[in-house]
């Protein structure tokens, strides 16, 4: 799933949890799901940071060539 989709999912789960009409059981289930989604988000963000580091190194190489 794309990062934006996971973020939307996380937001929806958060709304469910905060809804006072949601039962405790469903809230806990929603929270467990949100943990899984948040973990995926953070993993994706970590990948992007890695790619940025590669680009940063390339930029440094270009500067050094100048």
């Amino acid at each position: 799933m794309k990062l934006e989709e996971n973020l939307n999912k996380l937001s929806q789960l958060s709304e469910v949890i905060e809804d006072s009409d949601t039962t405790l059981d469903d809230s806990i289930k929603a929270f467990e799901q949100s943990l899984v989604v948040a973990e995926q988000c953070l993993k994706q963000l970590k990948e992007y940071k890695g790619k940025l580091t590669v680009l940063e190194n390339k930029l440094k190489e270009l500067n050094d060539e100048e």
């Binding site: 949890i17 949100s34 930029l59």
Partner: protein, 393 residues
Amino acid sequence: MTISVSQLNNYLKALVDMDGVLTHIEVKGEVTNVRPSGQYLYFSLKDDYSQIDCFAYSNEVALPVAGTIVVANGAINFLTKSGKISFFVRKLEDTSKQGDSYLRFIALRDKLNKEGLFDQSRKKSIPSYCATIGVISSKTGAVIRDIQDVVFRRQPSADIVLYPVRVQGLFAVKQIREAIQYFNNSIVDVVIIARGGGSDEDLSVFNDEDIVRAVANCTKPTVSAIGHGIDFTLTDFAADRRAVTPTEAGEFVSIDSRRIQDTVARLIVNNRNSILRRINDCSASVRNTLSEIQAHFVGAINKIQYTVMQTEVMSLVALQRKLDNRQAQFDLLTQRASVHNPMEQLKRGYSIISKGSVRVSSVSQLSVGEELNIRLSDGSAQATVTKILEINK
């Protein structure tokens, strides 16, 4: 009888010096060729047919005006060394009249000016690049050499076409007119009409009406370079441009190729530097843009990370709150339950009496001697009814 030159000249000088008329003479004529030179003043007197050179001390005679009619008082001087005659002027009287030739000159000038021959609107521009240059001048003398020197130095690729003419005297007008006509039908880019310095009479051919009209109507751009800078002829007015010297005329019609080479070289260097600067600016711009993009992404990623963590925290807080609510509800319910809990009653000292499995709640259920079970908070006991006491209703 054979004599030497010196003897002849000495004899002639003696004749002149002893002549009563020639040593004290008044001569009336038109002033021309005025040339002051230090303590001396040189000029000529002329009429329609003749002229004579004059000199005077500049501190004795006022500077005469060319074209005016004067009466000069002095003596004829014969120079033995050169064999020349000149008129030494002791006194000069201006009759405030203008000579005939001067008047003719002014009349022609005004007439041609009125016709518009000298108007600025008629002037043609000298082309910025003249590949072929026509020259009307004498084939001998310094004029054509000066023009060639300056043109070929500045613009080696130029072509010069010389139409040789007499520049004074007989046939000069005809030849100069024919030269202009020739160049009208030629491929030259410009025509120079030039002659060196001379007396007013020497230059007078360039005041001829036919020549002035021919110059004004020339189909090619014309440059006049006649006499010295202080000399002005009607041809100068009619030409498209006037030069004070033949060298200046050559500069007008040629380009300075060395300066152009320098200019081109400088432009090349400037362009190169300008391009290098632009390349460097673009490189810096690209680097800056990449840095900005990188910073943007880092910022965006950090922001999303923070949002994710914050969402989880808030979800947890909401969940905790919900849990706390449920806990509170549970506590309330258990508290209520414990109030109604029979065990709590037993703890307060109450007991449950049962007869077998039947609970006893009234003395009417009892008989003396019956066995009872007494349930207390921490256990039970067996008891026997020994006496029954009923509380009065």
